[in-house]
């Protein structure tokens, strides 16, 4: 009996570690990974990095977006090495580009660090296929940044407009919760300009929020840090995970955003296919 239990346990560990890919790998799709609050330099960050690398073999994502708190503590050369270059070495060597946004633990001068692809700007935009990404600096949303965002969104003809930044507009995290002042300023702009999805960090958990005003919201602040049992779910939460570190893989193909959220142990904790709202009903599991 003990032997059987051991066998089942080993099989489940093997399965978890070699988790099934739930993304469709469609041709010409936009493929990326999402990490937030990653820069601890501690073992769990490396383990998430290793899991990402493993999945990269079956899901060759081109780039990763970083939701802030890219480096905790100091910002000496050794910190960049220990908290970014080493944990993602395999991915960097494979040519995966990282696009960073600034968190409250990041010095604004990180924008000059070339591997973060910020081009010396605190907020910036880039395109990939049918998607355009807008990295914001949620530490300092002044009228200039808001004007820039309105202009960039209005000029964009991308099918998918995706914003990412550190402080979440919606969150059921016990520690911080949502930033309501930020929400009051940003959400009307998102809504008026066709933003489809928003990714944030700050709260050290994973959350998928039920669509709000036609926008999908994800919180992923647990790619390095973790606030164990840090969620207090409300009716706005579609899915939450607060017992291990995690990252998200995303594939965008035509009008569908496919996602798979994977824990540090390799377990799929959430996945689904989200249609661009205003198109057709979607499914999640």
């Amino acid at each position: 009996m003990k032997r059987l239990v051991r066998l089942v346990l080993a099989a489940s560990i093997f399965f978890a570690a070699n988790g099934e890919l739930k993304l469709p790998l469609k041709s010409k799709s936009v493929r990326f990974a999402v990490i937030g609050d990653s820069g601890t330099g501690a073992k769990p960050q490396y383990e998430v990095g290793a899991q990402m690398e493993k999945y990269h073999a079956s899901f060759p994502f081109e780039f990763a977006i970083m939701l802030g708190d890219n480096l905790y503590g100091g910002e000496r050369e050794s910190d960049f090495l220990k908290k970014f270059e080493a944990p993602y070495k395999g991915l960097l060597d494979a040519g995966v580009k990282f696009y960073a946004s600034l968190g409250n633990h990041d010095k604004p001068n990180e924008r000059f660090y070339k591997p973060f692809n910020m081009g010396g700007q605190r907020y910036y935009t880039f395109k990939n296929g049918d998607a355009q990404f807008f990295a914001l600096d949620s530490n300092y949303v002044d009228p200039e940044q808001l004007s820039w965002l309105v202009k960039q969104l209005a000029e964009s003809h991308a099918s998918w407009k995706i914003c990412f930044f550190h402080h979440p507009l919606y969150s059921d995290g016990k520690f911080h919760g949502p930033d309501t002042d930020l929400r009051a300023r940003l959400e009307p702009i998102f809504e008026a300009n066709g933003v489809s999805a928003v990714f944030s960090g700050h709260e050290h958990v994973y959350e998928r929020i039920k669509p709000q005003h036609g926008i999908y919201y994800f919180v992923l602040g647990s790619a390095g840090e973790l606030r164990l049992h840090g969620l207090k779910p409300s009716e706005d939460m579609a899915k939450g995970f607060d017992t291990d570190q995690a990252f998200i893989l995303v594939e965008i193909a035509e009008d569908i955003l496919y996602f798979q959220t994977i824990s540090r142990a390799g377990e799929t904790i959430d996945s689904g296919a989200l249609p661009k709202l205003g198109t057709t009903p979607g499914s999640t599991q």
């Binding site: 503590g73 100091g74 910002e75 000496r76 050369e77 910190d79 960049f80 409250n104 633990h105 990041d106 010095k107 604004p108 001068n109 990180e110 924008r111 000059f112 660090y113 070339k114 591997p115 910020m118 081009g119 010396g120 949620s138 530490n139 300092y140 949303v141 002044d142 009228p143 200039e144 808001l146 402080h167 911080h176 919760g177 949502p178 930033d179 309501t180 002042d181 930020l182 009051a184 300023r185």
Partner: protein, 172 residues
């Protein structure tokens, strides 16, 4: 009649304080520009050390150029009073409740601030709520209003230097 006169006097006083603030910021801008002229232009680089060295050298150059700087050089008592009034307005009513929630959300830090010193390494930068930013006079992009606990800090971003501050500027 008296009320109208009082309002006119207030408008004039506000205008004068804001103009004075803008003048002081422009003066700082000139000093900053000459400090920066001594340094190589910073472009995106693979070297974190080059970024840190540049920040340090820039801070040193600014410190050298305003070594006698004191708290209140930019936020004079009159300007500070006007900023307190503007911040008080921003913190009123429902909007104020929202801002207060946002401030609590931002990992508040009570710091002992010193003019011409770097914002401490490893201490998170508290975010400044957008409502506060839209209530205060516009700054050149090299300078920022930052919040530390309930204090308002004027921070030179690229040099990571505290330029001036108002203690207890955000009403409780």
């Amino acid at each position: 009649m008296h009320r109208m006169l009082a309002k006119m006097i207030l408008v004039l006083a506000v205008g004068t304080s804001v103009q004075d603030f803008e003048k002081r910021i422009a003066e700082y801008g000139k000093l900053r520009q000459s400090a920066e002229a001594q340094l190589p232009h910073l472009k995106p680089t693979d070297s974190p050390e080059a970024i840190a060295q540049r920040e340090h050298a820039f801070a040193q150059a600014i410190r050298g150029a305003r070594e006698d700087a004191r708290q209140g050089d930019i936020f004079t008592p009159e300007i500070a009073a006007e900023f307190r009034r503007m911040l008080g307005d921003a913190m009123r009513g429902l909007r104020g409740a929202r801002v207060e929630k946002s401030l609590q959300h931002a990992e508040p830090n009570a710091l002992k601030l010193h003019i011409n010193e770097s914002y401490p390494a490893g201490v998170p930068l508290q975010s400044t709520p957008p409502t506060i930013l839209s209530s205060l006079p516009k700054l050149p992009k090299q300078l920022e209003y930052r919040i530390a606990g309930r204090d308002l800090v004027l921070l030179d971003v690229d040099a990571n230097l505290v330029i001036d501050y108002i203690v207890g500027a955000i009403p409780e």
